[in-house]
């Protein structure tokens, strides 16, 4: 461990090449800054590619709409945990970033008048929560994420962005003097080489950690790498207890079926053929917020009204939409249902079950992408030169529950705003690059050295499987006090086991066993922060539904959780209830 790592210097480092990373990179590259985008998969393989239903923007192409209504829906959807300044910021910039995306070449579906096609989506309403749904989701059939990710990649090709493809970032490097971020260490998968990437600004756009659960709509790559790196470097993780269960994952396979199916007129049935959402959400019915629908489904199943021999799922019916609508608006869904559920939705319903989908929490950041942590007198002191955007960040626009189609919007708005802020900050810097602290990169090398030298120990796959099983069993749609306590204990055991793993493969070349072992460290931090935060929050809000505390408790819990790896401890900070220019939306009882 004596020789030092090779150092590569750039103006800006972007870790992750999904929607937010590529939107930020585009901003930076167009400003003629020297940018390195590190990504562990080729950019168009990032998980943004799997988003289906649409991207929210109040373009009002089909129904009357405006950003105030969108803002209200987002605040209400968040169960009032979202920061209202950030939500106002996002909704006000929605039209701008979506129109820009269209100008970039995004192949949006079209209305007869040539404008962008928009469909209804869960929780998106007109006139501050009226029974009339807003058509706000701008769609490319049911492949919106795929079209968006490819469009952003294409623009980056045009802008000559420098990608480091199949480089996995390992650890964050901070200046011990003032905590400023200097860059990351990263591993080139093809050669096994490790290098230090130094930047005047570093953005994490690493996506979520949906793979901490056994049943997940998420891709294999969603292992919470940014969360793990941040946590190990002393940055707290915010609101990690809030994981969204998407109502419609394919039963048994976990693959996503877009809410757009219900936006187009599909609905859920229990074993009696009853459209049960009418009982739980008389106005919005199947287009209530995702947390509401997932709980309703789970209740139906628990009370014995589930379908199939095990009575453990419900049915999503859409055959009444007719082959034309299905083939034109939902072709990808049909493909998935036939392949993964053996059901052609033109003729028969799709078996579905609530499935982990989205992480509302993450690295605490403001709406300019700057990472903020409590320090001395301030609850939100800026960590110099460190930014976070997209699912790995907690801005917090989604609060305790995200509305469908707001995630793609989040990627564009905060990808762009963090890019803008990074440009400003880099240009204002008094000196070019900091000196590297002594021992920078040692932590990464120690992790790799352990894996190289371990000749015995548990298999990574086994420990990972136990982690996912534990999270599924102890931290699900409904959360029980004794289960949560058990969950914390189990994850602690698993965290210790993860330190004693062993890989047989010691090759330098494209060693995916080593990659999975390194990912396991990040899964552990993500799972620990989730279950510890969930166990401590003694109320039900959005995606956190506690059996022992079934009500929201604004008096005690209208606050953000912060989890610190060191000491496995928690802290809390207030929610930004004050928007930028409009009046606060005061918390009230949330019905759909």
């Amino acid at each position: 461990m004596s020789s030092s790592l090779p150092v590569r210097r750039f103006d800006a480092i972007v870790v992750g090449a999904g929607g937010s990373g590529m939107r930020a990179a585009l901003e930076l590259a167009r400003a003629n800054l020297k940018v390195a985008v590190l990504t562990k998969v080729f950019p168009t393989r990032s998980h943004t590619v799997a988003a289906q239903g649409g991207i929210a923007a109040p373009l009002a192409n089909s129904t009357e709409d405006n950003w105030h209504w969108h803002m209200y829906d987002t605040v209400k959807g968040s169960d009032y945990l979202g920061d209202q300044d950030a939500i106002e910021y996002m909704c006000r910039r929605a039209n701008e970033v979506v129109i820009e995306l269209e100008h970039m070449g995004m192949p949006f579906d079209r209305l007869e008048n040539g404008k962008i096609y928009q469909r209804p989506f869960g929780g998106h309403t007109q006139d501050y929560g009226s029974a009339k749904m807003a058509m706000r989701a701008c769609a490319v059939a049911d492949r919106t994420g795929h079209a968006m990710l490819h469009t952003l990649y294409q623009q980056n090709v045009r802008a000559n962005t420098q990608f480091f493809v199949e480089w996995m970032a390992l650890d964050l490097i901070r200046d011990p003097q003032d905590g400023a971020v200097i860059g990351v260490t990263a591993l080139e998968m093809e050669t096994g080489e490790v290098a230090l990437f130094q930047g005047k600004a570093t953005l994490f756009a690493t996506g979520g950690a949906g793979r901490i659960y056994a049943a997940s709509t998420n891709a294999f790559v969603n292992t919470g790498d940014g969360l793990g790196m941040a946590a190990r470097a002393g940055i707290p993780l915010q609101d990690m207890e809030f994981y969204q269960f998407h109502p419609t994952g394919v039963y048994g396979a976990g693959v996503l079926i877009t809410e757009g199916v219900r936006g187009e007129g599909g609905y859920l049935l229990n074993k009696d053929g009853e459209r049960f959402m009418e009982r739980y959400a008389p106005n919005a019915k199947d287009l209530a917020s995702r947390d509401v629908v997932s709980r309703a489904m789970t209740t139906e199943i628990k009370e014995g009204r589930g379908c199939g021999p095990e009575a453990d799922h419900v049915m999503l019916k859409l055959d009444h939409l007719g082959p034309e609508v299905i083939n034109q608006r939902l072709p990808g869904i049909r493909e998935i249902a036939i392949k993964f559920a053996n059901a052609d939705p033109i003729r028969e319903p799709i078996p579905v079950v609530p499935t982990v989908h989205y992480q509302m929490g993450g690295i605490p950041a403001n709406y300019m992408g700057q990472v903020v942590v409590p320090e001395a007198a301030s609850q939100e002191a800026i960590v110099q030169a460190f930014y976070a955007a997209g699912e790995c960040s907690c801005v917090s626009v989604h609060g305790a529950n995200r509305l469908g189609t707001n995630s793609l919007l989040d990627l564009l708005v905060f990808g762009k705003s963090s890019g803008e802020q990074m440009i400003k900050d880099i240009r204002a810097l008094p000196r070019p690059q900091r000196n590297l602290p002594k021992g920078a990169g040692d932590a990464s090398r120690a992790r790799l050295a352990r894996l190289d030298s371990a000749s015995a120990g548990e298999r990574v796959a086994e420990v990972g499987a136990d982690l996912r099983k534990a999270m599924q069993a102890h931290c699900g749609v409904f959360r029980f006090p004794d289960e949560l306590v058990k969950g914390v204990e189990k994850i602690k055991e698993i965290a210790a086991r993860a330190q004693r793993t062993h890989i047989q493969d010691k090759s330098k070349v494209f060693n995916t066993a080593r990659i999975e072992a390194l990912e396991l460290d990040n899964l552990v931090e993500s799972a620990m922060s989730t279950v510890v935060s969930a166990q401590a929050r003694k109320e039900s809000r959005g995606a956190q539904a506690r059996a022992d505390f079934p009500e929201r408790d604004d008096a005690n819990w209208l606050k953000h959780t912060l989890w610190y790896k060191e000491g496995n401890r928690l802290a809390y900070k207030p929610v930004h209830l004050k928007p930028l220019t409009v009046e606060t939306f005061e918390p009230k009882v949330r019905t759909y």
């Binding site: 998969v41 168009t44 799997a50 129109i99 949006f108 579906d109 891709a219 998935i336 086994e462 494209f510």
Partner: protein
């Protein structure tokens, strides 16, 4: 089921070989990728790319019993009891089922895969009729998995000169976009004995595409437009 996998680790092996695995499947194992993941829990040195496991990211393209496809959407029940897996043909092998796709992406980049429009951007969206938008169907859905290009003998022979079916499908995607103003420039770039005209319409690409796209038809359309502008 029995799976024979092409193995090669330049760090360790003198030459590639086929390794046989007897895989005990669980009832939840539906796709070939599930079987590969199961093998990897026993032998962690087996290397392959994978991510979305639902056929949209394009990571796990490989040669399955002689035909290119995605492991994650290839059903085990549709396969014989003995399956042989090799890396995509025609590209350099990095390790096991992982190929070096540099040349493939170079060709994709060469067709300028972005809308070119010289007008000042309007305040709102550029209008496009549903009929104009329909022209992009069957084109924009490409996932860049390379199943098609690596099934094409012309691409095997001239990967540096022939754009290949995936790149040409995208070339046509931008020609077909009513918002794009660079058709002439795009056609000039392809009017070359190699870049476009190495396609001999043998349609291996169509057979291989896991998204049921038709690069041969797109290539035919480009040729048609070229002929039209020549006369």
């Amino acid at each position: 089921m029995k799976i024979s996998v092409y193995r090669y680790d330049p760090d360790r092996d003198e030459r590639p070989y086929l390794k046989d695995y007897e895989v005990k499947l669980e009832p939840t194992d539906r796709m070939l990728l599930d079987a590969l993941v199961r093998i990897k829990t026993q032998d962690d040195s087996l290397s392959f790319r994978r991510s979305c496991r639902e056929g949209v990211c394009g990571s796990d393209a490989m040669n399955i019993n002689g035909k290119n496809g995605l492991a994650c959407v290839t059903k085990i029940v549709d396969l014989p009891a003995h399956v042989t897996l090799r890396p995509l043909p025609g590209l350099p092998v990095i390790r096991d089922l992982i190929v070096d796709m540099t040349q493939f992406f170079k060709q994709y980049h060469s067709i300028k895969p972005y809308v070119i429009n010289h007008d000042a951007p309007p305040e709102r969206e550029r209008l496009q009729s549903p009929a104009e938008r329909d022209q992009l169907n069957g084109l924009y859905e490409c996932i860049l998995c390379a199943c098609c290009s690596t099934a094409c003998p012309s691409f095997w022979w001239n990967p540096d000169k022939f754009v290949g079916p995936a790149g040409l499908l995208q070339a046509y995607r931008f020609i077909a976009d009513s918002r794009d103003q660079a058709t002439a420039e795009r056609l000039d770039d392809l009017e070359d004995p190699y870049r476009l005209f190495r396609c001999h319409s043998i349609m291996n690409c169509v057979d291989a595409c896991p998204k049921n796209l038709n690069p041969t038809r797109a290539i035919g359309k480009i040729k048609e437009i070229m002929v039209k502008r020549a006369v």
